[in-house]
Symmetry: C2
Subunit: 213 residues, 2 copies
Amino acid sequence: MEEKGISQAVISRLPRYFRYLGELKDEGVERISSQELSEIMKVTASQIRQDFNNFGGFGQQGYGYNVEYLYTEIGKILGLDKKHHLVLIGAGNLGQAIANYMNFERRGFLISGIFDVNAALIGKKVRDIEVRPMEELEDFIREHDIDIGVLTIPKNAAVDVANRLVKCGIKAMWNFAHVDLNVPEDVLVENVHLSDSLMKLSYNINRYETSKE
Amino acid sequence: MEEKGISQAVISRLPRYFRYLGELKDEGVERISSQELSEIMKVTASQIRQDFNNFGGFGQQGYGYNVEYLYTEIGKILGLDKKHHLVLIGAGNLGQAIANYMNFERRGFLISGIFDVNAALIGKKVRDIEVRPMEELEDFIREHDIDIGVLTIPKNAAVDVANRLVKCGIKAMWNFAHVDLNVPEDVLVENVHLSDSLMKLSYNINRYETSKE
C-alpha cells in the first residue's frame, strides 16, 4: 500500500467515498465506473482517479471498480477493520447523542465508558453504559483497552481533561469543545468545532446576500 | 471590502481567527502583532498576513493589529453582525444539544422553532421553545422570518425535509444528517458529518500505528 505523503485533503475525502460506496453496496450495485461515481458524488472522474491512485488505484479495469472490494479496501485504509475503544467525557445532550448513534459502533468505534462531573448524571445509563464520576477516569482507562477520548464538555474543562488523558497514554482525541487542545505532537486530535461550521455558513449567506444587492 | 474570489480555505480559517481574537479581547489584550498571533494560533505569521490581505489587511501598523477592531471586522465578514432565525428539525439529543448551546445565540443565531415527528416530544420545551409537529413546519416558516434550517434527523428523513425547506424558500441549511443533500445551486448547505470526522481520526491512528511497526 503506497500511502506515503498523502495530503490531508485526500484523506478528508476518503470517508465520503466510503459512505457512497456503502450505499451502493447496500443497493446491490456490484461495479461502478469512475464516471458514474463522479456523477453521483458530484466530483470529477479525474479527481476520483487521482485520489485512488494514491492507494494504488484499486485495480480499475475498463468496466470500472468492484464496489465491494473498493468499499472494503477504503475501509481498511481508514482503519475501520480494527476495533477502537472510546471513553466519552461529558454525558450531556451532545455526549448522549454520540453514545446513542449506532453507526459508530457498526464502524468499530465502541464506547467503553462514559464520564461526567455532574453528580445528578452519575449512575444513570446511556445505552446500557453507566455514567461514572471523573475520579474513576484514570483507573478505568488503565483497566480497559482505551485508545480514543471523546470530549463533549465545555471548553473551560476540556484543557484539563485533555491533559489527564495524555497522562494516561491516550493518543487520540475527538474534541467537540470549542478550544484547540494543546497536546504533545504525537497525540492526534480531530476537532469538531460546531461554531466554526455555523460561522462558515453565515459567511456564505452574507456573501450571497451581498452579491444580490 | 475586497472579498472577490476568496478561497473556501481562507474562509474556513476565519472562524478560528474570530475565536482566538474573542479570547484575546476577553483577556483585555488591545494590540497583537501577526508574530504573536502566529505563536498562539500555531500558524505562520505570513499565512496570517496573507489571509488578512484578502480583506484589505485590517490596517496593521508596525505595532500590530487592534484586537477589538480586528474581532469586529472579522465578525462582520462572517455576517455575525446580523441576526439569523433558525428552525431546528429533530428534537433528539443532538437537536437539544444545539438548542441548548448558548453561544450560538450570542453570535446572533436564534432558534425560533423546533420540530419533530415524534409525538412523545411534541409540546415539550427545549429552552422555552416548544417542540412542534412537522405538519406545522411550512406555516411556521412563512409566518416567521426564518433563514436557516438545521437538520438533526436521520438521513432517511433528511432528503424529504430538505425538499420541504427548499419549497418554503429556505436558502441555507446546517445539515447533521449523514447524507449529502441534493438541493438547488442557490441553496447553501454546510454539512457536519460526524462519521466522516471520526473516520479521519481513525485513518490517522492507523497511519500512526503502521509507521511505528
